[in-house]
């Protein structure tokens, strides 16, 4: 392995270690994980938590935080069900387009006002919750024709239509963040905003793109999940915010911005999805999933913090991810 490969892998060592250990435990205790059923179940988690986590990551890399993603997914599920007479994919595409337009407007408002995105999206979160409520008419909303739902339950090997779409999105955005100028700008604005601006990066474009991506991913996830379930209600998507942000953070995306890649999100989602799939197979209740999610989140954050302390103790010049950086994390999103 080249030196660069080693460095790359080292960046993911905590997450890969946790994932391998968890998979070993699951394989030993759950028969489904000795077959491809386990992989299928874990990948299904990518369709909902994965896509939303992927979207919120775009804003985290930009040094912002979009906490409206779960609400966008909830509203999108309701919109998709209203559109379901168009057929499965037209409904998904139309809903995603609506979500993308919302994300663009939200990003434009945040970029133009230079307002703290955490508080702005807290406001839109509440508004969207109300919109979902109105769309659902105060009760649960169901598709008129359940054929659109059954079409999403097809299984191709370890993939379903929804997890295949989600993974395609991961690849697409991975390439965008890694190799496209507009994607690189999101890192620049998140990692060192003043330097990026001085170097000529637009102050607004990366923010608008990041928020458009986050709403698009959340909209796609909500549309797929809503149509698959065939029904939705106003509160159906509320636990999603914890899961999506946890997945991104567990994967090693930093809230300070400028760091992390799609691989981090992938690992984070895989870890959380593995836990919930394994617990579901054992018939555990939802609260066990939440308890474990919270525990793993705390564990990973503390581990990263300690490894940052150790790293800077060994090498005084290694600042990135060190305790100093972590201490100022709260000031990241301004």
């Amino acid at each position: 392995m080249s030196r660069r490969m080693v460095d790359r892998t080292r960046a993911y060592r905590v997450q890969i270690g946790v994932l391998v250990a968890l998979w070993a435990v699951c394989a030993a205790t759950t028969p489904a994980f000795q077959r491809d059923d386990g992989v299928y179940a874990v990948l299904l988690g990518f369709a909902l938590i994965g896509l939303v986590a992927l979207g919120v990551t775009a804003t985290m890399i930009a040094g912002e935080l979009d906490i409206s993603v779960a609400a966008v997914a909830g509203t999108s599920a309701a919109i998709a069900i209203r559109f379901s007479s168009l057929g499965l994919w037209p409904a998904v595409i139309a809903t995603t387009a609506v979500a993308a337009a919302f994300g663009f407007l939200q990003g434009a408002a945040i970029a133009r006002l230079r307002i703290n995105s955490l508080v702005f999206t807290l406001g839109t979160l509440v508004v969207l919750g109300g919109v979902t409520f109105v769309l659902c008419g105060g009760q649960s909303l169901a598709v008129s024709n359940f054929d659109v739902s059954t079409a999403l339950f097809v299984r191709w090997g370890v993939f379903g239509p929804d997890s295949a779409v989600a993974l395609a999105m991961f690849v697409l955005l991975g390439l965008f963040f890694g190799f496209v100028k507009y994607g690189r700008e999101i890192y620049a604005i998140g990692g060192a905003r003043n330097e990026a601006l001085a170097a000529g990066v637009s102050a607004r474009r990366p923010i608008i793109i990041a928020f458009t991506i986050s709403a698009t991913c959340a909209g796609l996830a909500g549309a797929l999940a809503g149509l698959k379930a065939g029904t939705t209600s106003a509160e159906a998507f509320s636990p999603l915010l914890l899961q999506a942000i946890s997945a991104a953070l567990v994967g090693g995306i930093s809230l300070t911005g400028g760091r992390g890649s799609v691989v981090n999100v992938f690992l984070g989602v895989a870890i959380l999805s593995l836990i919930s799939a394994a617990l579901a197979m054992h018939g555990a209740a939802d609260y066990v999933v939440q308890l474990t999610t919270g525990g793993i989140l705390l564990l990973v954050v503390v581990l990263e913090f300690l490894s940052g302390v150790l790293q800077s103790a060994r090498d005084p010049t290694a600042q990135i991810g060190g305790p100093r950086q972590q201490a100022t994390a709260a000031e990241g999103a301004t």
Partner: protein
């Protein structure tokens, strides 16, 4: 406790009492709403309805007072408010159902919530991101409580504590009095004690505060501990008010509390504002939502309006501050 240590006075923003424009605007809006509501909506200015409004504002407002201190200390918001309040309510309900002495139960709830708040403050003081740390602690608390109570609804009979919510003093319901006292005490302590000023100064500028000998970490512990205390009070009041508790109660509390802080005009970047603003914010939201209920607005529309209030408040505050610094 640290009152003997000198703290540099940094001018009017920390030491002096001053009616902030945001608070003045909000109080004005409340007055206008009262008048317009009274003229247009039957049953609005009846004593029953006004007492319902302050009761509704009391639980959210009490917790919002503590949350404001966290925001002022530069630590944004805690995402574990709902879960810790629920824990307090469950503990109280469980203790009272088990016929333990009410005083001891209340004390135990307060101690537990304060410790839990302090622990979150310590995490933040260590350097963990406050939003993430509280998100994690919140889900651990919820999971642990649910693992113990298993979705059970814990109901308890009247056991000598009902006066905490049912009594009226001079026609003012007790929860509103508790809320007012909490807000007033927090407002005074945050201005007049060393710890309170350290919270504000740490939020205003970390580097400067640290160089002036103020521990940013200690300020975080103070703020989160205070939040733990207010959340304990909110949980106790809620549980006694409804006579029962379960793990999924108060599911919108975290957002409601954060909304109250923001509508109250507490700047999200910290370093400015008073806990009393969050109290006024909570009162304003309760007033608007009560008016909408009386006028037959649906739940969805009410939610859209309260979201719009939050958006309007943060945008207005932001634009106002930008102008001020130019």
């Amino acid at each position: 406790m640290m009152a003997t240590r000198a703290v540099p006075r940094v001018g009017a923003s920390v030491g002096a009492w001053k009616l902030q424009p945001a608070v003045a605007a909000l109080l004005g809006a409340i007055a206008v709403l009262m008048v317009v509501g009274g003229l247009t909506t039957e049953d609005f200015l009846t004593s029953d309805n006004v007492s319902a409004i302050v009761r509704n504002a009391a639980v959210v407002g009490t917790a919002a007072v503590g949350m404001a201190l966290v925001t002022i200390s530069g630590n944004y918001v805690s995402l574990s408010v709902q879960q810790t309040t629920m824990l307090a309510a469950i503990m109280l309900a469980g203790g009272l159902r088990g016929d333990l002495p009410a005083g001891a139960v209340v004390l135990a709830v307060v101690v537990a919530a304060v410790l839990l708040g302090g622990v979150q403050g310590l995490f933040v003081a260590m350097g963990l991101n406050p939003v993430v740390a509280t998100l994690a602690v919140g889900s651990i608390v919820y999971g642990s409580v649910q693992a113990i109570v298993k979705g059970e609804l814990i109901a308890f009979g009247g056991s000598g504590v009902n006066w905490i919510t049912d009594a009226n003093v001079l026609f003012i319901p007790m929860p509103a009095i508790i809320f007012g006292v909490v807000a007033a005490v927090a407002a005074v302590l945050s201005r007049r004690t060393v710890a309170g000023r350290e919270v504000t100064l740490a939020g205003a500028n970390r580097e400067t505060a640290a160089m002036s000998g103020i521990s940013v970490g200690r300020a975080a512990v103070w703020a989160f501990t205070a939040l733990g205390l207010t959340v304990a009070i909110a949980g106790i009041v809620t549980a006694i008010q409804v006579g029962q508790a379960n793990a999924s109660m108060l599911d919108t509390l975290t957002i409601d509390v954060a909304s109250a802080v923001l509508v109250g005009g507490v700047a999200i970047q910290g370093g400015a504002g008073s806990p009393a603003q969050a109290a006024v914010g909570a009162l304003f939201i309760a007033l608007v939502s009560n008016l909408m209920v009386l006028n037959g607005f649906s739940a969805g529309v009410r939610e859209i309006v309260s979201g719009a209030l939050v958006l309007g408040a943060v945008v207005a505050m932001h634009v106002f501050n930008e102008r001020g610094t130019r």
